[in-house]
Symmetry: C2
Subunit: 203 residues, 2 copies
């Protein structure tokens, strides 16, 4: 990932994450982060409003890439298929797996960061729903497709972080199939042939 | 709903909601809420830590009822079917539709309340996932079933609030079928007969 190297913002993110992991989020200062990255505090504040934001810098980038990727999906594609295609296409802006794993650990240990993460994910949901509505899907369908898409996104993301070799696009497809199997069992629909399920199970 | 009437806590919730709606959340004080409910401030603080909590009083009750309802579902039921059955069974603790509609409007107008709502919903998700894991479902499946269940819960809840005559259990079933149709279109699985879809569409 060439974007990851040599970029001021990404160096600051990496330095922040290292310090949060080594000495705790609360005890880390912006001055320490800047020093670790061999940059000035002024550089830090050019990119982030506070130390918390250093963990969420990739969020806006992802949002922008996803909206762009949704725009590239052929017209007439169903709402959830549109989202899943966009997720797979936008994975090039993901931070490296090791970074994301450490980031998840820091967030899990700090309730204020968890709240921030929740708010960011909700903002992402809202943006995706709006993008689907702009493509002509009715708002309730767009919102429900987004709920399903976010569930697949979370599932694929967790598997991607856990497995260095995994291909993200394949995990998105597998996650959608797993969610479908869970739903099909609970809501089998009117009498007729059962929906196809996969033998792949969630472990 | 007999539980709704004559209950100190519910009178305080109703008074708080009225004042939030009439004069705004920020401008309403605990003293005003207590006065509107013909109760003392001390009574208020017996039930709630602050005015914000007066909007979220039903959350813990719902959580408890859902966990109890999950325990009542026959063993061997699939994870999402378990959740959907529990949602339908726990709807007797819902506040009246008019209350929930006004509550939703107040929350939508106040970002700190939106954050609180998000945190409460996340807490509910966590509790449901744990309850499924305790019943023997593996954690990843339990979590994914919870994601799907929360999507159905939201969809059914919005329709229930909007339609005075609607039956909640039927809306849960319809919501699950709608989510299934959206997923089946995006993740059709291996070659075979197409999964059944419903003609009911989300509008």
């Amino acid at each position: 990932m060439a974007r990851w190297e040599g970029n001021t913002r990404l160096r600051l993110e990496q330095a922040a994450l290292e310090l949060f992991t080594e000495q705790g989020y609360d005890r880390t200062t912006v001055a320490q982060i800047a020093k670790r990255a061999n940059l000035t505090e002024r550089s830090f504040y050019r990119w982030f409003t506070d130390k918390r934001e250093a963990l969420f810098g990739g969020g806006e980038e992802l949002e922008e890439r996803l909206v762009a990727a949704i725009g590239d999906v052929p017209e007439g594609t169903g709402p959830l298929a549109t989202l899943l295609t966009a997720f797979a296409a936008a994975s090039d802006v993901f931070r490296p797996r090791a970074f994301l794993r450490e980031r998840a650990a820091v967030i899990a240990a700090n309730p204020p960061l968890q709240e921030r993460e929740l708010i960011k994910l909700t903002s992402l949901s809202r943006v995706l729903t709006e993008a689907l509505v702009e493509r002509g899907h009715d708002p309730a369908t767009a919102r429900t497709a987004t709920d399903a898409g976010m569930a697949v996104f979370r599932l694929a993301g967790e598997r991607w972080m856990a497995d260095e070799q995994a291909d993200y696009a394949e995990l998105v497809t597998a996650g959608a199939a797993d969610l479908l199997a869970i739903l099909a069992e609970a809501a089998p629909g009117p009498p007729g042939p059962p929906p196809p399920t996969r033998t792949r199970v969630l472990r």
